[in-house]
Each structure stands twice: as structure tokens, then as C-alpha cells.
């Protein structure tokens, strides 16, 4: 396999081999992110598709050292865009048939990461977005408010409720 730099250069030149290699290299990881931001597997797959297309289109704009983080940001932005677009469609589905590759058992919880993902997936869409953006991506409430077109206080309230739901679910596992 070629080095990441060569693959990026190839992608910038619109080379099919480079795009295939990049997809091969990052698709599993990005699909994991997509699952976190989607309500079902089909949405996640669409998000993966759109995300990679966006990455290939905008790879010339990539300048930072951390390609992984840049890609993640692209995918999160696409997820946000789709969320705003599909706000009206609240189709809820439990992602419980997805098997993660990196299914780690957390020491203090004894919970698999797939199960954690399933818990997040059960959250209402807006709670899930707020929680992901705050706890996983590290955005502030003000930024989240702007991204999701809600007020700061709504963001705080959503986060609080999301935590509460997740805590309850974690407690069930502990029991």
C-alpha cells in the first residue's frame, strides 16, 4: 500500500487508484463516525457516500497535518447538513445489527462500544446531535447552537437530557 501522502497527491489529481486506496484506508473508521451521526444503517451508508465524495472534491483544500481529523470534520459537517435538511423526518431506528470492528470493552463499565453506540442511537435526533458535538467533538454550546440553529440554552438543556437518558441506560447495564 502506498503512503498516505502519495494517495493524497493522487486524489488531488483525481486518480481512481488513489481514491480507491483512500476509501479502503479510511472507510471503516468513517463508517463508525457515520453510525454515530445517523439514525439507521442506510442513512449511515448514505452519509459515508456523501462524505467521501466531499472529501474527494475538497481534498485540495486540505492543508493541516492531521488528515484523519480533517476527514472527521468533513464527515461531521456533512452529517450536520443532512440533519438540518432532514429535520422533519424523524425516523427512529435502533442500530443494533451493526458489528463494530473495534469493539472494545470499557474497564469501568463492562460495556462494548457497539452497545454504547446503540444507546446513543436511541436518543432523539437533536439530543444525539448535541451530545455528539459536545462530548465527542468538543464544541461549545454557542457553536452547537449555531450549527443546529437552536439557542445556547436549548443546547444545554438537550445535553442535560441526553446525559440523563444515557446514564439511565448505563445504570441498567451496571445492574
Amino acid at each position: 500500500m502506498k503512503s498516505l501522502e502519495k494517495i493524497i497527491v493522487g486524489c488531488r489529481k483525481n486518480k481512481a487508484w488513489a481514491q480507491a486506496e483512500l476509501f479502503e484506508m479510511f472507510s471503516d473508521k468513517m463508517f463508525g463516525i457515520c453510525l454515530y451521526y445517523s439514525s439507521n444503517k442506510a442513512d449511515a451508508e448514505d452519509l459515508l457516500h456523501d462524505g467521501f465524495l466531499k472529501v474527494f472534491e475538497n481534498i485540495n483544500k486540505y492543508k493541516s497535518d492531521n488528515f484523519d481529523a480533517w476527514m472527521r470534520k468533513v464527515f461531521v459537517n456533512i452529517a450536520l447538513m443532512r440533519y438540518r435538511k432532514g429535520k422533519r423526518m424523524s425516523t427512529v431506528e435502533e442500530i443494533e445489527n451493526v458489528k463494530g470492528i473495534s469493539n472494545v470493552v470499557f474497564e469501568n463499565t463492562q460495556i462494548h462500544s457497539d452497545e454504547l453506540l446503540a444507546m446513543i442511537s436511541k436518543l432523539p435526533a437533536q439530543y444525539k446531535m448535541v451530545f455528539n458535538l459536545y462530548a465527542i467533538e468538543g464544541y461549545k454550546h454557542k457553536e452547537i447552537g449555531e450549527m443546529l440553529e437552536i439557542s445556547d440554552s436549548t443546547s444545554k438543556s438537550n445535553l442535560s437530557r441526553a446525559r440523563k437518558i444515557l446514564q439511565e441506560q448505563l445504570n441498567e447495564y451496571k445492574v
Binding site: D28, F31, G32, I33, K41, G86, R88, I101, F106
Partner: protein
């Protein structure tokens, strides 16, 4: 608080290290999308390259012609200057002859330019004295003159418009040198000859030199228009003679090419110059190539009726509407005559039909991906619904019931072959055209969504690769003095074939196209 922080940490750590195996077929789908993008990019590059190439060719031809005209003008100026001298001396000689004859109280005889008319003029009043002025102004001519090619030189002169006026002695336009010379010899006689070529870039104009007493004019020469308002006003006798004098200036031409005679065609050309609505710019291109490029908007039709076979239990578009889309194209044509032209071109445009989306009222138990729904154009498939249907606990039908509209976009490349009938009025031309079109369907896309966006994508099934149609329309163009013209093009295209091969669908598309256009005449 620490508990909350702990929850955040647990999920953050789990999410950041999380990866899941990509579904099979994900890369295939991605690859297909990337290929389509590459193809689109290639097509765009091709269209832009062709466009730039055509533009460069036009500009190149234009600059080439401009450079040629410039060098021709310089050459012509030299030749015409020398001819002017010849003409002046001829006119002087003629005048001297007339004056001498008048002084001898003899009937005026024809001079070397025009014997008969001057005879008539002199018959009226023997005592009349004629003042003479020759102003020769040559500005431009558009035919290349070659000193070594006298035929060409003659043609150049043929395109000049010359006005020779015979006026009274009071005329202040006499060139000092010329008038002094004549006055010295003959105080009462002046002859004014004006040759004025007003042709710039093939535009002709007749300069009139009418006196108050006489408005008579006559086009007199075959290749040079001579207007003579001859007023011989005698200061002594107050006897005014005004007469149209026809002066044959063939001698001037003969100074350049004595052996070259004026053809009937050239005579006709000269006669056309007198026509007030005659447009030399247009008429000059009796036969020749022209090129038009246009870009505008095409409006297409929606469904006119329900499909022939209506017993479908699938999503439908009960009401359809035409929609607009941009178009771009060019025509390369040949003007067979002043009135008729033929052209062949290429046009790229989309046929867009919007429609309402409707799921069957009855309970839907399954959905056919390949024949998901139908519009008047035929069945269509959807691609991305497949993933949604695989999802557990996902109510696909409820999801679909939220959609309200469909959009079908057919991408066409069309080869129009047209015959045009041209009508002119001053610098305007109106072309009625009609012909046949061979239209190739490049691709088609169906989108399903709600009022704000489209979410499902697919394509029409069983469409023909190419259809044939008839078209007619009307173009209006303004012809500039250069080779360019600007105008508005209209086209109505009606397709003769059903666009779908299935007997269930009988849809004939038609389009109305409105485009501003720029033309260039070679």
C-alpha cells in the same frame, strides 16, 4: 457533575476509536459516482475547449480580415491618390475644352467625360460659363488592391461612390489651387467635380450636392455614381441653366485599367446603392458561411395525459408540469442566396418535467426497486431506497408518503438541420427557419422529494437512445458594421417519436427555446 463528565468521557473514548466494517457495495456505489463525475468533468472540458477553439477561430479570422483591410486601405490610398491626380487633370482638360468651345460661341461638344450631357448643357446658353471644382476625397475601400493586379484595382474603384457636382462660381468649396487656376483662365466658369468615396467597411452613401435651383439628380456612371447639379449661373446675363449632367468617368477607371469593362453584376451593385433599404453588409454575403452561437432557456412540456395502461400499483405522478432549463448551442450555416440559408448545428439542453408524487392509497406490501414509480415518460427506478429498505424497523412506506414531488431530467444533445428564409430591413434581419432534429439522450435522472429538496434518486427505464423531431422558429438579428450580429433566437421543437419504447407510454416531448445569440459572417 463528575458523573456527567464520566459519561462524556466514556462515550467520547468509545466514539473516537470506533470503526465498523463498511457495507459491501459501498465502494461500487462510490466508484460509479466518481466515474460519473469524471465523465461530466471531461464533457465540461470538451465543451469549454470546443467553445474556446471556435471563439479563437472567429477572433483569428476577424483579426486576419482587419489586418488585410488595413494594408489594403494603405495600398488603395496610394492608388486612389494617383488616380485622383489623373482624374483632376482629365477634368481640367475637359473643362478647358468646354470653356474654349463656349468662348468660341460654338455648340458645346462632348468632353472626354460626357459629351452628350455637356452638349445639352451648353446648348441652353452659349454664353454660360462654367466654374469647375474638383474635390476628390477617397477614404476607404475594402477590396485588396495590388499594384501588379489591375483587375483588383478596378474592382476597388467600382465600389467607390463618387459625386461629381457642377456648381456655380459662388461655390466656396473650391480648392484654392484648382479654383485659382480656373479663375485665372476663365473668371466666369467653374466646374466642380466632387468625387467622394464614403465607403467605410463596405457602407456606401451618396453625397448630394443640390443647389437651390436644381434638385435633379441622376446616377450616371456604371461604377461611379456621379451627381451633377449643374447650375451655370451667368453673372452677366442672369440666365441660369441647371441641368443634370451625366459624366462618364470611365476614363478615370481606365487610367487604372483601360481594358477592364464594367459587368452587369457590377452595374446591379451600383443600382442597389440607390436603394434606401439596401444593406450592403447583409447582401454582400449572398453566398457564404456564417456561424451563430447562442445560450438561453428551454421550456419543456409535462404530461398531457395519463399513461395508456393505468392499472399500476406503484408511485405515480398524476399531475405534471413543464420546467425550464438552460441551453447552449451553435449553428454553422451557409447562405445559399440573399434569401435562403441552410445550417447544421449542435445544441445541448435538458428536458425537465416536474410532477406531483403520489403513493397508492391501498396498502403497499412491497416495493419494486426497478419499477418504483411512473411518470408519463415511463417507469423509473430508485437507487438509494434500497438501503432504507434493508434497515430493520424502518417503515419505508410511511417514509415515502412524506414525499410530494418528482423531477425528471433528460439530458439531450441535439443536431438541428435547418433551412432559413431571410428578410431584411435596414440593418435588421429576420430569419424564419424550420428543419429536422436528431436528438440523443445522454442520460436521465429522476428525483423524488418534498417541497424543499429531493431525497431519492433513480432513472427512467426503457427510454430511447435517440429521437427525431421537427422544429421551426424565428430569429431576429441586428447586423453591425463589422461581421458580427446580435439577436434573439426562438425554436419550437416537437418530437415525432415516443420517448419510451414501452407501449404503455405515449409521451411526445416538445420544447420552446428562447436564446440570445451572437452571429459571425465569414
Amino acid at each position: 457533575m463528575s458523573e456527567q463528565h464520566n459519561i462524556d468521557q466514556i462515550f467520547s473514548a468509545a466514539a473516537k476509536g470506533y470503526s465498523a466494517s463498511t457495507p459491501s457495495g459501498a465502494w461500487g456505489r462510490m466508484d460509479a459516482a466518481l466515474k460519473a463525475k469524471r465523465q461530466k468533468r471531461r464533457l465540461t472540458i470538451w465543451f469549454v475547449s470546443v467553445g474556446l477553439g471556435i471563439l479563437a477561430s472567429i477572433l483569428g479570422l476577424w483579426f486576419y480580415n482587419s489586418a488585410n483591410n488595413h494594408s489594403t486601405i494603405e495600398t488603395e490610398s496610394n492608388i486612389i491618390e494617383s488616380n485622383t491626380t489623373n482624374f483632376e487633370s482629365k477634368a481640367d482638360n475637359a473643362n478647358n475644352e468646354i470653356t474654349q468651345q463656349n468662348n468660341n460661341n460654338e455648340q458645346a461638344t462632348a468632353n472626354s467625360l460626357n459629351k452628350e450631357d455637356l452638349q445639352n448643357s451648353n446648348n441652353e446658353n452659349i454664353e454660360e460659363e462654367i466654374a469647375k471644382e474638383s474635390i476628390i476625397d477617397t477614404q476607404n475601400s475594402d477590396t485588396e488592391l495590388d499594384n501588379s493586379n489591375k483587375k483588383n484595382a478596378t474592382k476597388t474603384i467600382n465600389k467607390e461612390v463618387a459625386v461629381i457636382g457642377l456648381s456655380s462660381t459662388n461655390n466656396n468649396r473650391l480648392p484654392a489651387k484648382h479654383s485659382e487656376g480656373n479663375n485665372a483662365d476663365n473668371n466666369q466658369t467653374e466646374e466642380i467635380a466632387v468625387i467622394e468615396e464614403v465607403n467605410l467597411n463596405n457602407s456606401y452613401e451618396v453625397i448630394k450636392e443640390d443647389s437651390a435651383e436644381n434638385n435633379n439628380r441622376e446616377i450616371v456612371a456604371t461604377d461611379v455614381i456621379i451627381e451633377s447639379d449643374s447650375i451655370s449661373e451667368s453673372n452677366q446675363t442672369e440666365n441660369t441653366v441647371a441641368e443634370i449632367t451625366i459624366i462618364d468617368t470611365l476614363g478615370t477607371e481606365e487610367a487604372i485599367n483601360p481594358s477592364d469593362n464594367v459587368s452587369e453584376t457590377e452595374t446591379e451593385e451600383i443600382q442597389k446603392l440607390a436603394d434606401p433599404v439596401y444593406i450592403p453588409n447583409v447582401d454582400k454575403f449572398k453566398m457564404g458561411l456564417f456561424f451563430n452561437i447562442y445560450a438561453g432557456v428551454s421550456l419543456s412540456n409535462g404530461a398531457s395525459s395519463e399513461p395508456y395502461y393505468t392499472n399500476f400499483k406503484m408511485a405515480s405522478s398524476p399531475q405534471e408540469y413543464g420546467a425550464s432549463s438552460p441551453n447552449i448551442g451553435f449553428n454553422l450555416g451557409f447562405r445559399i442566396s440573399k434569401k435562403f440559408s441552410v445550417s447544421l448545428g449542435m445544441k445541448r439542453y435538458n428536458h425537465v418535467i416536474k410532477g406531483d408524487f403520489s403513493m397508492p392509497d391501498k396498502r403497499v406490501t412491497h416495493i419494486n426497486i426497478d419499477k418504483f414509480g411512473y411518470t408519463s415518460l415511463g417507469y423509473y427506478s430508485v437507487d438509494n431506497i434500497n438501503n432504507a429498505m434493508q434497515t430493520k424497523n424502518f417503515n419505508t412506506v410511511e417514509y415515502l408518503r412524506e414525499f410530494t414531488q418528482t423531477k425528471v431530467k433528460l439530458r439531450f444533445v441535439e443536431i438541428p438541420l435547418n433551412i432559413g428564409y431571410n428578410m431584411y430591413w435596414r440593418n435588421w434581419a429576420m430569419t424564419a427557419h424550420g428543419g429536422f432534429n436528431a436528438t440523443f439522450v445522454l442520460s436521465n435522472e429522476v428525483q423524488v422529494g418534498d417541497d424543499s429538496d429531493y431525497y431519492l434518486y433513480g432513472e427512467m427505464q426503457n427510454l430511447r437512445d435517440n429521437i427525431f423531431g421537427v422544429s421551426f422558429g424565428m430569429d431576429i438579428s441586428y447586423y453591425t458594421k463589422s461581421r458580427f450580429s446580435f439577436g434573439l433566437k426562438t425554436d419550437f421543437i416537437y418530437y415525432l417519436n415516443d420517448i419510451n419504447t414501452s407501449d404503455d407510454f405515449k409521451f411526445h416531448p416538445y420544447s420552446f427555446i428562447l436564446s440570445p445569440q451572437i452571429g459571425f459572417r465569414f
